[in-house]
Amino acid sequence: MTYDVVVIGSGLAGLVAAASAAAGGAKVGVISTSSGNLGLWSGLATGPAGGGRDVAEALCFFLETGERAGLPYRRAAALTGFDLLAASGRKIRAVLAPETMAAGDLRGLPTAACGSGLLVAGFTELADYPAALIAAEARAWTGLAVNHRSLSLGREVGHGSGPRIARLFDDRTWFQGFLDAARRVLIAEKPWRAGMDTARPAAIAFPPVLGLFAFRDNLTALSEALGCPVFELPALPPSIPGQRFWRFWRHRLEADGRVTFHAGRKVVKTGVEDGRCLWVADELTRFQARAFVLATGGVAGGGLLVSPSAFFAVTADDGEDGRQDQDRWSVDPAPDTPREPLFDLDTAGQGPDWLTWGPRTDRDGRPFQRAGAEGGSEAPRSSGAGRRRKPLANVFVAGWLLGGSEKRPPDACLSIVSGWRAGRLAASLAAKPDGERGGDPR
């Protein structure tokens, strides 16, 4: 099969890269084993976006594509980003947030939030969403008056989990009944806390399960019915915001007709010649393209190969009686560095000390946060048996695979910005006539 651009991986970086390459006029093939870490993604783009024209353009592109896909995102007016509540109830900074969560910007909430309180609504049937705990944490971390209430969704749900409840919220008839119950339970007839001047909360936070498809209409209806702003909080997986992203973006890209998804395919072979990749293949099919985007994720996504011994080599000393002594297990510095499996690219690993799994608590200290293909988002270096070869001129790296290479932990902003940039560079390289290719695209 022949495309202009082949994107390997369909997580956040892969989808953004595919959209960006398609916007650049390329015919794009996306080859992936799965939807990557989207199934675990809270939906928030945290982390520093950085500055510069490229970043501004990338974020703009992301917002526009989201709007077209029917899954709008918002960018904070404040330079520092949104101040939102995380799944734990603590405060979290986000550069971009889905429309459903952006309304929860703590700085944007009515000032009355201090008086009548922010209300964290929970569902009795929803596992892993302790509304009381979230409210207590939020009180401690934000200093705001935060209360909580839980309501039952009825027998129909049983022991519910996010996907089941989201399915119910997609049902209009059921949702009408829910509106009445929400009004009854969440809006008290008289103040239910001393010092409150009104029974109506300043804003209500819901778990992010208000429908897989109908969430926009549902939030509007809820806000009208309850008479105050409502928004979604991030929650633990299974992630409905991640599912929404995967479904809405993939649908838009497929419906636009420029992007073809080859899901469930694992790239196992590559054809490299004269410093350029000509094709990649799974067990069955060879995919040819003029440019490639490598968005295969970090260790969890399979973009980096790390043997267990790379994390820690565990040795057990034999005791005097020859038996292994549990107290004398020792953790040695890891001997291996992680390897990028497809093109055997250099990683950000710096030898054994790099992988020390020490007691440091900062995020940079963890090996999987610091692993990444070296070389920036444009031209990765390829190495073989200790020799450095010419960078692959038509392979661009995006997303978590880059994490750590710039001495920063991988995050959603990195995926969005590097995905956009890699897709755009790949499309412009693919559009060049044959004679002009092979040079540095920058």
């Binding site: 799965s34 939807s35 199934g39 129909e156 996907p163 299974p238 992630s239 409905i240 073809t260």
Partner: protein, 458 residues
């Protein structure tokens, strides 16, 4: 064992649970994470003293409810073949004790070869009955369905007048075909035994693209058996196909492509068959299996374009080549699992054959039919509830035809929405036949069975 089947690779993230259409709709299904990797881990060795889980435990988790749509496989960030592990639990759950008759009818349904032949053998009687006393005949058919444990609410396909092999032989032109490259059509039970129109359209399009189509003796791909938990039946079917298609390949050439218009058959032949039948022969066979759309958009593309050019020369203007639209296209789960993209909308779009309506992202999921599961009396309502978002998305559209490669998806969408459905190759065949060919509707409207609406939960 490959890494994809090691349950310890599971990181417990629940991405598969979020993607599973059955879990969302059915409170009885514990979800792919629990039924797949977690259950497999318990079978490999749980805590000391913990009872070894058997058929009853698998059934208690609702393992039999898994539809084998493979959505979990495509969601797993750890690269586990979750559906293969849920399949193991499903096979175990199928061993729960049941009455002899239920066991018999279950096996009969899972064995499409026997069941299909039974239905087609009864075809003449059904046709006669429908002419003489339509109401009585329909009543009798529905009683028969009930006895076999099938839902009486399902519309049965009209009995075919001419079988696919007979039609294929009667339309063969040996003098033209002699020099053409051969291919083997794996028609699938639906096209072979119940509804030959899809097979006929596939043959016409492949012939127009310059191939000599052979339809050697073949049996069911085994997909209905493995999705019913009848692994032994599936293995029997796989062994039979390796032998039968192997013989045909000896005659036609070892590299002859095998093309199927049904994505479930393609998936079974390509993925499941080499797992069930060890050996080089099965692997070699699996490596040359193509989905029809994939084949037409790949090796046959230039031939197809030339055929369309010829048709266009016969017509006054290009627009007359177009068949009536607009269409909506539904991607079957098994086509997604094959990773073949969506070849037909691209092909039809490129050929100018009709426009497509956008049903929205909700229509991208599983229709809920799950092969045989949705046909049974017990699974009927459940299947509608599982496919609800998809079925509602199509119910709100007004396309002339809803196209899908999978017969089960077409059956479900037609039954639930009352809309006409067809295989996209039928549209392609109509476009290639040009305006001179006699016009006939691509598909008669089936019975609409959703009088009470699509249920929310099962």
């Amino acid at each position: 064992m490959s890494d994809a089947l090691l349950p310890d690779t599971c990181i417990g993230c629940s991405a598969c649970v979020a993607a599973c259409p059955v879990f969302a709709a059915d409170g009885g299904f514990a979800g792919p994470k629990v039924v797949g990797p977690a259950f497999a881990r318990r079978r490999e060795g749980g805590w000391p003293g913990e009872p070894y889980p058997g058929p009853a435990e698998a059934a208690a988790l609702g393992a039999d409810l898994c539809l084998r749509c493979h959505a979990c496989d495509l969601a797993c960030p750890a690269g586990i073949a979750v559906s293969a592990l849920t399949g193991q639990a499903k096979t175990l759950a199928a061993q729960t004790p049941q009455t002899a008759f239920r066991r018999f009818s279950g096996r009969l349904l899972a064995d499409q070869e026997r069941f299909g032949h039974l239905v087609s053998a009864a075809g003449a009687a059904r046709r006669l009955g429908r002419c003489l006393a339509p109401r009585l005949a329909l009543g009798l058919e529905r009683t028969g369905l009930r006895v076999l444990g099938l839902s009486p609410n399902r519309s049965l396909p009209a009995p075919p007048r001419l079988s696919l092999p007979t039609w294929l032989e009667s339309t063969r032109r040996p003098e033209v075909e002699r020099t053409l490259p051969s291919l083997i059509l794996f028609a699938g039970c639906h096209a072979r035994l119940h509804d030959p129109r899809v097979g006929q359209a596939a043959v016409s399009v492949l012939r127009a693209a310059g191939y000599r189509v052979a339809l050697p003796t073949q049996v069911c791909c085994g997909s209905p058996a493995s999705s019913s938990g009848e692994e032994e039946l599936a293995a029997q079917a796989a062994r039979a196909n390796v032998a039968l298609l192997g013989q045909a390949s000896t005659r036609l050439g070892e590299a002859t492509p095998i093309v199927s218009p049904c994505p479930s058959c393609t998936l079974a032949l390509r993925r499941t068959l080499p797992e069930l039948v060890p050996g080089q022969a099965a692997r070699q066979l699996a490596s040359r299996v193509w989905d029809l759309g994939e084949f037409l958009a790949g090796p046959a593309e230039s031939g197809l374009h030339q055929a369309l050019e010829r048709t266009m020369k016969r017509t006054v203007e290009r627009s007359r080549v177009r068949t009536s639209g607009p269409f909506a296209y539904h991607t079957p789960c098994h086509l997604q699992a094959l990773g073949s993209g969506r070849p037909f909308p691209a092909l039809l779009g490129a050929l100018g054959s009709g426009t497509f309506l956008d049903p929205g992202p909700a229509a991208d999921g599983c229709c809920g039919m799950g092969g045989l599961a949705g046909l049974t009396a017990a699974g009927y309502r459940r299947s509608l509830a599982t496919g609800r978002p998809v079925l509602e998305a199509y119910a709100t559209l007004e396309p002339a035809l809803i196209l899908s490669d999978c017969p089960a998806c077409r059956w479900q969408i037609a039954d639930a929405t009352g809309r006409d459905t067809a295989h996209p190759v039928e549209v392609l065949a109509a476009a290639l036949a040009g305006p001179d060919s006699p016009r006939r509707p691509l598909r008669a409207a089936p019975l609409s069975i959703s009088k009470e609406g699509i249920p929310r939960t099962s």
